[in-house]
């Protein structure tokens, strides 16, 4: 661990919690991303139904909100560094490492829009929801940049391993998504196939 400075007025635990929850958040968001791609591709492991994948994607996203709240609150409240409340949503409003924190704020903005539009999905219509949801492809890389630039623990082997492992998982999912598009519409004519609930992965035509 890098040297922990014990400020004269505060405790180091807030800073630790912020870093820890940040790491958990990154892992959680990576899982959300992978599950999101899986939802889109219609892939599901043998024992799971597709709706389970979709529900898990949503549930983990809500967990991520909880981790985010913890991560941001502890970072701001911690007296060691000066990050105002505004810096959590306004990029470059932080005095401390403006650019690095700013990336985090950008990720929060995009993620917040995705969250809100998803909660009111039925009322805003599919097209608008989808347009905002697509910014996830930007938000997650931005979150990773924030982790790499603002994070202070990449020197620790298991932290680095977790971060890079998550990045690899995201990259694989991204590749699968891109390849799924390039392959084009899938003709699912299966004459005589069993009716009813089907467990095989099915690609969508669009």
């Amino acid at each position: 661990m890098s040297a922990v400075v014990i400020a004269s007025t505060g405790t180091p635990w807030m800073w630790l919690v912020s870093r820890g929850s940040g790491l958990a958040l990154l892992v959680c968001l990576s899982a959300v991303f992978v599950l999101g791609v899986a939802t889109r591709q219609g892939s599901a492991p043998r024992a799971w139904a597709r709706f389970v994948v979709a529900e898990l994607h949503r549930t983990l996203a809500l967990f991520a909100v909880a981790f985010l709240a913890l991560h941001v609150a502890t970072a701001i409240l911690d007296p060691y560094v000066s990050i105002g409340w505004w810096a959590s949503v306004l990029p470059f409003a932080s005095h401390y490492r403006a650019a690095a924190i700013g990336m985090g704020a950008l990720a929060v903005d995009l993620g917040g829009a995705i969250l809100v539009t998803s909660l009111v999905r039925k009322h805003i219509g599919y097209r608008l929801w989808r347009a905002v949801h697509w910014t996830a492809y930007l938000a997650l890389p931005v979150a990773f940049v924030h982790a790499l630039t603002a994070g202070s623990d990449m020197g620790v082997w298991w932290v680095a391993a977790t971060v890079w492992g998550s990045a690899v998982a995201v990259a694989v999912a991204l590749l699968a998504r891109v390849l799924g598009r390039i392959r084009g519409p899938d003709h699912r004519v299966r004459a005589g196939a069993s009716r009813g609930v089907d467990r095989e992965p099915m690609r969508s035509a669009s």
Binding site: F51, A54, V189, G196
Partner: protein
Amino acid sequence: MTTPVRLGVDRIACDGRGLCAEMLPELVVLDDWGYPILRQGPVPDALRDLAEDAVGICPKLALRLEPCPVCDAPSSG
């Protein structure tokens, strides 16, 4: 009791993803190409909540619940 509703689907938005049939096999089966065949008539009260979940989980927002004063008339969708 709440007004009777039945399942309807926007056939153009529907992509045959199949989540509705997984969640609601009592009311939705898939044809040979993965597209939903909806059971006619009102949604039974016992399945009402599940039907609303199914509507919410549809990735294309294609599934819907339509109030049907006359639930046996052909659905418009």
